[in-house]
């Protein structure tokens, strides 16, 4: 049931990106290009999405647990940190270069466009690289902590 519900939600999400036109990178770049022929459509997409998700999430918060799972995975982190700021800035550069963020990039795999496939492979590599870097950083810290206590 959890799988069917997720598949269904993915379909609705995909339909939303498709109908809104946000699967087209040049449409997204048209929004980001405030000094050119500005296209405010993406702002309307965000406002409409929030108009549904703000009351929807309020409702979800009142439910002790989701209908098809034992617990909800609400994010718990609060407060800004360096990772959030630097990570978001790097994402912003990549997004501005091509006009693709992860959702439309994955959805566009359906077109079998070689450019999109290359983008998704590079995006996956970036994610794996990040996880690898985080793990090695943690290992170095742990080793440093061990040697300092031993010394």
């Amino acid at each position: 049931m959890l799988t069917i519900a997720s598949l269904f939600c993915g379909l609705i999400f995909g339909a939303g990106l498709l109908i809104s036109g946000m699967v087209q990178p040049t449409k997204v770049l048209g929004f980001l290009d405030i000094f050119g022929a500005w296209d405010p459509s993406l702002a309307v997409v965000m406002i409409a999405a929030l108009a549904v998700s703000i009351p929807g999430f309020m409702l979800a918060k009142h439910h002790a647990r989701p209908f098809l799972a034992t617990q909800s995975f609400w994010p718990t982190k609060i407060g800004l940190d360096r990772s959030l700021v630097i990570g978001s800035a790097l994402f912003g550069v990549g997004w501005g270069l091509v006009g693709l963020c992860p959702g439309p990039a994955l959805e566009n795999l359906a077109t079998l466009s070689p450019g999109v496939i290359a983008f998704v492979v590079a995006m996956s590599a970036g994610m794996v690289l990040h996880d690898f870097w985080q793990r090695s950083r943690l290992t170095i810290r742990r080793e440093a902590a061990l040697t300092s206590t031993d010394g």
Binding site: L11, A15, W74, C101, G103, L106
Partner: protein
């Protein structure tokens, strides 16, 4: 504003919001695409079934719409492979380091009124606007 399409944008946006709410109400998960997809690439993550299903749905949506006569337009990508690869790497690394993308921070996080997500959304929007301004109006001239 010749390209402005407010009606389809509002309908599509509403559906994206609905998907995020349903995913939370039904499965208790946040509809953040970089997080869903990133978890699939993490060998240490054992919670993969729903992730595969969601992304399958995302890719299947334009396939189904094609069957009913509403084909997805061919995406217009930059000519330079270097730009495509560099952008992909930045989007992958950046969204994982920053803990989310346009969906997880921009829609789910802002809807929860999370300070982190509001900051992240402002940062990636502004940086992307500057990037486009530089590539289109300074370098691209």
């Amino acid at each position: 504003m010749v390209n402005f399409t407010p009606i389809s944008a509002a309908i599509g946006g509403g559906l994206i919001g609905l998907s995020a709410v349903l995913l939370m109400l039904l499965t208790g998960r946040i509809a953040g695409i970089s997080g869903i997809f990133g978890g699939l690439l993490d060998p240490g993550n054992n919670d993969k079934g729903w992730r595969v299903a969601f992304i399958t749905g995302l890719i299947l949506a334009p396939v189904i719409s094609g069957w009913i006569g509403y084909a997805m337009p061919t995406p217009k990508m930059p000519a330079s492979w270097t730009v495509i690869i560099a952008a992909g790497l930045l989007v992958g690394f950046g969204t994982r380091l920053g803990g989310g993308c346009t969906s997880g921070h921009g829609i789910c996080g802002v809807a929860r009124l999370s300070d982190r997500s509001i900051a992240a959304t402002v940062i990636f929007m502004l940086v992307a606007i500057v990037t486009v301004a530089v590539t289109r109006h300074v370098v691209g001239g």
